[in-house]
């Protein structure tokens, strides 16, 4: 019986922890943001994290996007065959990718890659006194470590998602034209007819929010980690899990805000 309830208890614990963290996390976010508007700004740290997030995440985000665009085309073709509305596939692919799959999948990939790396790096700095050393060298650690990463995350994700959007649509296009027998010209026209500027904009807004959340949780869990290597490991796991959950929650909220009339 117990082993059945264990996951429930774990879920309860996770929820409680999230609530407990929410206040501290909000303060941390506000403090980090306040350092963005007060000089100095550490450009080198910002550029380094921007390159790390935007450039080095490109391959994994690109592959995810191509395959998910392709699979949406395939799934909707088989699913809609019985209704004889295969012509809607181009629209389904572009809307699914631009509104949801692009931002969410890119966000989850980056959460796994960058959120983990950030919390591990900052967590190691915490438990080896490097953060205290920064402070004694007249450098505010929030300003030096956290603020540039928050900005880099917020800026990098829209860039990645824009690329994911294009590649996702191309994935759908490739599958539809080579495997499902669509006429390329008509597919492209149908794609452009289906997508509106608002769809793209909201997708990119989501991306910016996700990027901020990923960087925030990576920094927060690293910054507050305690207790040696084990603590840093736990912080890394928490950063990825909590960023993924928050990302999906905000995905819902933003979708509701823009599309739910």
């Amino acid at each position: 019986m117990n082993f059945l309830l264990d996951p429930v208890a774990a879920l309860g614990r996770a929820t409680l922890a999230l609530v407990r963290h929410a206040g501290a996390l909000t303060l941390f976010a506000l403090l980090g943001l306040s350092h963005l508007v007060r000089p100095p700004f550490y450009w080198r740290v910002f550029v380094a994290s921007l390159i790390d997030i935007a450039y080095y995440s490109l391959p994994v985000v690109a592959l995810t996007a191509v395959f998910s665009g392709g699979v949406i085309a395939l799934q909707s073709y088989t699913g809609f065959a019985q209704y004889h509305v295969q012509s809607a596939i181009a629209g389904i692919v572009v809307l699914a990718v631009v509104r949801e799959l692009g931002p969410v999948l890119a966000g989850l990939m980056v959460a796994g890659r960058v959120g983990a790396a950030m919390s591990a790096e900052i967590g190691t700095m915490r438990v080896t006194d490097q953060i205290d050393a920064l402070y004694t060298l007249s450098t505010d650690p929030m300003k030096y470590l956290v603020a540039p990463r928050l900005l880099a995350g917020t800026m990098a994700l829209p860039f990645l998602v824009a690329i994911a959007d294009i590649l996702g649509v191309l994935g759908g296009f490739a599958v539809s034209t080579t495997k499902l027998g669509f006429e390329p010209g008509a597919y492209i026209i149908a794609t452009f007819n289906a997508v509106k500027p608002l769809d793209v904009t909201v997708g990119l807004v989501k991306a910016a929010v996700f990027g901020f959340l990923i960087a925030l949780l990576g920094c927060y869990h690293g910054y507050t980690s305690r207790g040696g290597a084990e603590g840093v490991g736990a912080a890394t796991t928490s950063a990825v899990v909590s960023a993924s959950i928050l990302l999906l929650a905000f995905d819902y909220l933003i979708t509701d805000l823009f599309f739910a009339q």
Binding site: T128, Q130, D132, A133, Y135, T136, L137, S138, T139
Partner: protein
Amino acid sequence: MSGTPKIRIRGLTKSFGEKKVLDGIDLDVEAGTSYVIIGGSGSGKSVLLRCILGLIVPDEGSIEIDGEDLLTTTSARRAALVARIGMLFQNGALFDSMSVADNIGFGLRAKLRDGAGHKLSRAEARERSGDILKQVGLDPSVGLLSPSELSGGMQKRVGLARAIAGTPEILFFDEPTTGLDPIMGAVIDGLIVDCVKRLGSTAIAITHDMASARRIGDQAAMLYHGKLVWKGLASNLMNSGDPMVDQFTHGRREGPIKMELRR
């Protein structure tokens, strides 16, 4: 000695939960002298330094540097006062994302300003870091390495180099020789004495090593159960006449200090 002490601590108290780590510390460190603090593992020596540095906020008491209370002044003033302190951390705390030269350069750029109030350029800081490496007995080529490529003793030396890079008025050393072989320990002690003399700095050093304590220190104090139970000349550490200090410095099992289970 005359005038206000460089560092003056009164009634400093700090608890973590139930555990009272510092319990009414009074300490005067005169300008230009070196103060050694000894005491058992976990007695709160590092916490004391962290309180002065502003890394831990104490529960009660006052900490003055040149007569200005760190705890009641504005945060900008506090930052300015703390900026006068150079710290060698117990484990070195080198930035492992940077080369050795950049670590020392960070220390330089953090504290030194040119005539117009600008930071040193990165190139100039790197240039100067070679000289500072020489001062701690390391070849300037070590600057190209990353901290993880150094031995423990070399890390201590680089930590020392980074701490002295900005020629601070006050230097803190947290167990500078722990984990080093006796010769390297003596070398580091020599470097510390050298730096303190050359910079004319005021120093507080924490150590478990009695030989080191006598080499570095002018004054000494022993921390036990959150209180400074003995203060005197560092040269008197081995024959202080105080039973607790005697037991500690001679490493005896029997005496007033009882081994207790740590909480």
